[in-house]
């Protein structure tokens, strides 16, 4: 309703409906340039010899040395192993978080059971707890089990998130009508098949968004992987080691930074729309 009236107003010459002027687009272009510039700058420097930094004017165009610098990145850090580790870590965490969040979110949204309200309050309360602060006992445990330095140790602490459960619940509450659940039950479907045939298909968009955010979160995580598995690094940890290994050679470090940003840039190009709608949907509900 509001939507249609808002759309109808778009075509009116007055009020908010008018097309913004050059100033607006000027600001937007400046923002875009400012947001992209650091990345562009690191590509420019990353493709040049380090000496480019002592020129009178900061360089604006890339040089021809990107590949040479990249080779030096490969020589300095185990780039491909780190990339593989990051893919495994982020992939497993994403699958785990999305699966368990959808299961629990479905139960909280559409099943009636004793204590569900209390448990949901608990989930919401734990969302604000900074679990990062539990690194000391987690490290003690991992060492006790002899798991330090393994990919598994990096994965374990983020196998579930309270946010995921909350997010899936909020989505399923609105999207799946109770009547549909009841109808499935009358037809003789048990809870599991209701989950599988009714809830999961309806939850797919939300699952995709949750997967995207979980993947980003796991991919960018630095503190825990650095502590528990520095000898078997994720991409972020390897990148940081590049800096400490040759912190003077700017161009190689920046070539590495560009290289490590590429996977997420590709993901962004493919799924940027979903990312945006996810951020904006989270705001309205959260």
């Amino acid at each position: 309703m509001t939507r249609t009236s808002a759309q109808a107003r778009k075509h009116k010459p007055m009020g908010m409906a008018r097309r913004p002027g050059f100033l607006t687009y000027g600001i937007l272009i400046a923002l875009l340039a400012g947001g992209a510039y650091p990345l562009w700058w690191s590509f420019v420097v990353g493709s040049s010899p380090t000496s480019v930094l002592s020129q009178d004017w900061p360089p604006l165009l890339p040089g021809g040395q990107f590949w040479k610098n990249v080779v030096e990145v490969f020589d300095t850090i185990p780039f491909w192993q780190a990339l593989l580790n990051s893919v495994i870590v982020s992939g497993v965490i994403t699958i785990s978080v999305v699966t368990f969040s959808t299961l629990a979110g479905f139960a909280f949204a559409k099943l009636r059971f004793r204590g569900s309200n209390a448990l949901m309050v608990f989930v919401v309360a734990t969302m604000a707890i900074p679990t990062q602060l539990g690194i000391i006992p987690l490290f003690i445990l991992m060492r006790q089990f002899g798991w330090t330095g393994t990919v598994g140790a990096i994965i374990i602490p983020t196998l579930v998130t309270a946010f995921g459960v909350f997010f899936m619940r909020q989505y399923l509450v609105n999207v799946v009508p109770d009547e549909l659940i009841d109808a499935a039950r009358v037809d003789g479907a048990n809870t599991l098949s209701t989950f599988w045939h009714v809830a999961v298909p309806a939850a797919r968009p939300a699952m995709a968004i949750l997967a995207l955010f979980t993947f980003m979160m796991a991919w960018t995580d630095f503190l825990w992987p650095m502590i528990v598995a520095p000898q078997n690094p994720t991409l972020q940890v390897a990148l940081s080691q590049l800096q400490s290994a040759r912190y003077v050679d700017f161009s190689v470090v920046l070539a590495g930074a560009v290289l490590a940003t590429l996977p997420l840039l590709i993901l962004f190009a493919v799924a940027g729309r979903q990312l945006i709608s996810g951020i904006m949907a989270g705001a309205v509900k959260g």
């Binding site: 909280f108 997420l264 989270g282």
Partner: protein, 355 residues
């Protein structure tokens, strides 16, 4: 939990309808069990895993904090709140807290103002809307480690881009890594770079939920765009604003990656004089460089309490402002809307007729 379940199972079926029970087939019984108990199976994986990896560590951190506990030799003597007392008397702890709060304020205050401004710019009838939204979000895709490396080089005192530009306009170079305030500014700029666009989109979503009628009637009343922003937009997006402020508080007080990588040469992390050592960085140094797990755990708990405190404080303040403001503005807005409706009553009538 289990005891209540047991009670329910014992009392309800025989007392309520014993006659129907006899006619239940095995399949029906199974179905009832399914309805009653399977929900717990769906939520169990989350709760079990969360208890192990989320809750237990937090509790166990407290246990560790009450002991003399070395990284290598393990638990030693029970010292009660000795570690807490040591931290609260340690200059380095307060230094780290000062740095954290300074960086947090330098990042979150300008960031929220800028994000609100960007959201206002985006909240127009733009051409290629998705393109601009994606553009604003580009920095979010650059990982914190990459951002830290890039900015660390840009702010490098010798040959760094920022000092280079300063020199071009004839200004003296700034010791971005050595001096306290400049280093805080540089680290805050990394946080701002990555999160401003993200928060702008959250605020944009809230702005788009504001009914356009309010703006139109305010405009009819002669309210300029600035006035409209402060009397309509801002009060309307307050709940989302609180959400953004809360999340940036929780995140901002735990900042680690950016200061850690800002100066890779420093062993302690946080600069030669710990001039930008944040509390999580201090915690990391205490645990893994100085190998004192007991004190590190105490730091973790103190920080946890500070975060909770900040969160509650933030919430209370913003809610008070919000409620005071909305009361006034909603009254004003209502009055205006009524006035506007009376003014345009005729046109409205025509409109409804045609519809």
């Amino acid at each position: 939990m289990t005891s209540t379940l047991g009670q329910e199972a014992r009392t309800s079926p025989p007392a309520s309808r014993p006659d129907r029970r006899a006619s239940l087939t095995f399949k029906n019984k199974l179905g009832r069990l399914d309805v009653k108990y399977s929900p717990y199976l769906y939520v169990a994986p989350f709760f079990v895993l969360f208890a192990v990896v989320g809750l237990f560590p937090l509790v166990y951190t407290f246990v560790v904090s009450l002991n003399d506990w070395n990284l290598l030799s393990g638990p030693g003597e029970w010292v009660g709140f000795g570690n807490f007392a040591k931290e609260l008397h340690d200059e380095l702890f307060w230094n780290s807290l000062f740095n954290t709060i300074s960086i947090f304020l330098l990042s979150s205050v300008p960031q929220i103002i800028a994000a609100t401004f960007i959201a206002v710019v985006l909240d127009q009838n733009l051409r290629a809307r998705t393109f601009w939204r994606m553009g604003v979000l580009i920095p979010y895709v650059v990982t914190p480690v990459a951002v830290a490396l890039i900015f660390s080089n840009m702010f490098s005192p010798d040959g760094g881009l920022v000092n280079h530009l300063l020199a071009l306009v004839g200004l003296d170079p700034i010791a971005w890594k050595l001096d306290t305030l400049p280093s805080h500014l540089a680290i805050a700029s990394m946080v701002n770079f990555r999160w401003t666009g993200y928060n702008a989109l959250i605020l944009l979503a809230a702005m788009q939920a504001v009914p356009r009628d309010l703006y139109e009637s305010a405009e009819l009343d002669g309210a300029g765009s600035v006035r409209r922003f402060f009397s309509i937009t801002l009060p309307s997006i307050r709940p989302t604003m609180i959400f953004v402020i809360l999340t940036s508080t929780i995140g901002g007080l735990q900042i680690f990656t950016e200061p850690r990588l800002y100066d890779a040469a420093s062993v302690t992390g946080g600069g030669a004089h710990r001039q930008f050592q944040t509390t999580v960085l201090y915690l990391w140094e205490m645990a893994f460089q100085r190998q004192n797990f007991g004190r590190a755990a105490a730091i973790a708990w103190i920080l946890f309490l500070i975060i909770v405190m900040f969160g509650v404080l933030n919430f209370l303040i913003s809610r008070r402002i919000a409620s005071a403001d909305t009361r006034i503005t909603s009254r004003q807005a209502k009055r205006r809307l009524e006035a506007a409706r009376a003014d345009t009553a005729k046109t409205d009538a025509v409109k409804t007729d045609t519809r």
